[in-house]
């Protein structure tokens, strides 16, 4: 059996190539947060406390648009609801661990670390295999915190008229690039985009994000079911 440190290191090595896009994402977050008017301390606090890139950018976007706290918190929850799925998958591998380890692993349960450790868990059955997830999570944590910090420094030097807030939709667009090749995903994207744009002024409390997302999920539910029936 490998030592805890060896498994931890394997996690670091496996996740490293996937850290390259995290750097500009963190920079953009830091720059935008300062641009919108959050203090450097609050910006750092978001990365430390929330530690979830997409949801932190959504927080900024909704906050700058004047959304209520309730909508911001529920949108952050909605964006992060994908972690429920990660947790469900990981739970069978960590069910024997003490509560404190489950809490630590939960904090580090992020997209990239989950994806790579899930592969590792399939191939390795050692008792200490969860150190792989912690290794990947800690690596991403360090990259995310330092790129946020760098963004804060840059943010105070960058003029507003550069229109950097346009980087927000671009960042989310970048996360969807693989979806444009699949039919159901394209339909879901257009549905959600349509509902949110048209509902922006008519759905109260800036709830257009949740309403559009739920509409998109219903479409996905129907289309995936229909497609199965044809098979």
């Amino acid at each position: 059996m490998k030592t805890n440190f060896q498994v931890f290191s394997k996690g670091i090595i496996d996740v490293s190539p996937f850290m390259i896009p995290v750097v500009p994402f963190g920079l953009i977050f830091g720059i935008l947060s300062i641009d919108i008017g959050f203090s450097p301390l609050a910006t750092m606090g978001m990365s430390l406390i929330i530690f979830g890139g997409a949801s932190q950018i959504i927080l900024l976007q909704l906050f700058s648009g004047g959304a209520s706290s309730f909508i911001i918190i529920s949108s952050v929850g909605a964006v992060n609801s994908r972690h429920l799925l990660y947790g469900a998958v990981v739970s069978e591998h960590v069910s024997d661990l003490k509560l404190i380890w489950k809490i630590v692993i939960s904090y580090f349960l992020i997209d990239q670390a989950f994806a790579l450790s899930n592969e590792y868990f399939k191939k390795n059955k050692d008792r200490n295999k969860y150190f792989h997830l912690i290794g990947g999570g800690v690596t991403c944590w360090i990259i995310w915190q330092s790129s946020t910090f760098l963004g804060i420094i840059l943010g105070e030097a960058i003029p507003e008229k550069l229109g950097l807030s346009f980087a927000v939709p671009l960042t989310f667009l970048a996360l969807l690039v693989n979806d444009f090749r699949k039919f159901i995903n394209i339909v879901v994207i257009i549905t959600s985009g349509f509902v949110s744009t048209l509902g922006y002024n008519y759905i109260p409390y800036k709830a257009y994000v949740i309403v559009a997302a739920l509409t998109g999920l219903i479409v996905a539910f129907i289309l995936t079911k229909k497609l199965k029936n044809y098979e």
């Binding site: 609050a42 606090g45 994000v209």
Partner: protein
């Protein structure tokens, strides 16, 4: 609500989404069907952020004509689909946007 309580609540909600399944899960709750539909969560949520930020102006009205963000987003999408590269997508979009507002 102060900035800090907003951040703390968002952090708490985020932690709960990560922790709750690890702490509580009974495996029979998640069948393949639930898993399949949940895999569309990012696809359903992200456009709700993307589209209004591109198609609406500062006052919230739909702006189709004289809107450089639409063309820039279209270029970024094409680059993204072609390269599947996150950085290339973001920077091609920003570069075309700057080109359209500062040069054209």
């Amino acid at each position: 609500m102060s900035d800090w309580s907003l951040i703390l609540y968002c952090g708490f909600v985020t932690f709960l989404t990560r922790f709750s399944m690890i702490a509580l899960l009974k495996k029979e709750m998640f069948n393949d069907r639930v898993r399949e539909v949940l895999s569309y969560v990012p696809t359903a949520i992200f456009p709700a952020i993307i589209f209004p930020a591109i198609f609406l102006d500062n006052t919230g009205s739909i702006q189709i004509e004289d809107n450089p963000k639409i063309l820039a987003a279209f270029i970024a999408t094409c680059i993204g689909v072609f390269t599947r590269n996150i950085i290339a997508t973001i920077f091609s979009g920003l570069a075309s946007y700057w080109f359209l507002i500062f040069v054209v």
